[in-house]
Subunit: 250 residues, 2 copies
């Protein structure tokens, strides 16, 4: 059996009882650790789970996971995913491979940043498409996020910010805003300006998330301390949403 | 302290270790039990949690929760929410009241149907706005869901189906499709027809979810067994999405 287990957003105790039971009976346990970041160490997880964890880097997950799936034909294997189990393309790809190989799969869900943003007071039903903002590279400066914000129109846009946990590199909210403002300067469609209301978030899903709301020109000056970070561009606000986000005004 | 605790989608073991620790130290524990439905009984929850649970019906949650929030000034009180903690307007409203009353709030997240749909193979990033389909009533036959599907255009639409758990009444996928087809008959914009590809889901988040993919005319004939149900109208499909949803073809 291949268990794909969401372990939540922050620390060892975010795993569900069902998830922990599954981990305890698995012979091999992998942690996908390049698409997100917990606030604890792998050792902390190992201690609580009572199991050795093998780190699964991008190359293992995206190129060589087939061998591990094959092992799951005769052994119980767990793949731990930060957040929910099947929120990213990579994880769905593994689920697909397992199904193709007719390996039994058990998916154990958990919290995801996609719903943890509910703590901002913005209604999840009022979000449009989620987008991500990648680190700019030579010849790779996509304008996708800007276009998604535009298309979402009256709906809120959640922007997930790029990260390289192995290099301890996390796009900050300031960097994300600067990227959007650069695209704005190029396209000039007034989708995001110095005056646009935005909400910056850090460590959603933890007991001490940092959530700050204000104009772009003010939010860029804020310190959001620890990653992971995300940025929300609210669309049209319902009055209850307005009332809740007031608590986060800088 | 007021703990608002997501308890996941299916059974007692879906709670996180952190959630269970919080429940165990609370003096009063309420379960909001009218916006969703677990596969287990309240007794099953009580047994695992080792605590008495007070059922919180709509009137208590929406009209009289202020008194309970007041008690949380001096006592540890838990409000248990099926799914994630702050995914519905009602729960955000309670969070807002607690903040207004300066009652400390601890939000413990969990799995939500909004990300559990990842198991269908559809990318969460390719979903547009989520909508819901209410039971038709005299003078209340909203066309919102139809309009949302239309506006979502190339993006996938998750339709949550109405339910009255206390009356054991759950909108089926067949009923939801019939409601959409009625709106189609009136508006005639070819948003949903007999030939439209849809995905019906039951018991997402459980170990045995039922997921079936096919044309509207064929899906209406399927038995999805047990609630809760939801209906997805896929937008434009990426090839990986196409490959995964094939597994669910009827």
């Amino acid at each position: 059996m291949l268990y794909i287990i969401g372990i939540g957003l922050n620390d060892p105790k975010d795993i569900s009882l069902k998830g922990l039971e599954a981990v305890k009976k698995c012979e091999e346990i992998y942690l996908e650790n390049y698409t997100s970041k917990l606030a604890c160490s792998v050792k902390d997880l190992e201690k609580l789970y009572g199991k050795k964890i093998i780190l699964a880097e991008r190359s293992l997950v995206e190129e060589n996971f087939g061998e591990i799936i094959d092992k799951a034909k005769t052994k119980d294997i767990a793949l731990l995913i930060i957040g929910d189990a099947l929120s990213a393309t990579t994880h769905i790809e593994i689920f697909k491979q397992a199904k193709e190989k007719q390996v039994e799969c058990n998916i154990i869900h958990n919290a995801s940043v996609l719903t943890a943003v509910g703590i901002t007071g913005l209604q999840l039903y009022n979000f449009g498409k989620t987008t991500s903002i990648p680190f700019p590279e030579d010849n790779f400066n996509p304008e996708t996020a800007y276009d998604v914000i535009k298309q979402n129109n009256d709906l809120h846009t959640l922007c997930l910010l790029d990260l390289r946990p192995s290099k301890d590199k996390f796009m900050t909210i300031k960097q994300a805003i600067e990227i959007l403002l650069e695209i704005e300067a190029k396209k000039g469609e007034k989708i995001i300006t110095e005056e646009t209301l935005v909400i910056g978030c850090a460590k959603l899903g933890s007991e001490q998330p940092i959530i700050k709301q204000g104009k772009v020109k003010d939010i860029v000056k804020q310190d959001f301390k620890q990653p992971p970070f995300c940025l929300i561009i609210p669309g049209k606000l319902h009055f209850v949403e307005e009332e809740v986000i007031k608590f986060y005004m800088i």
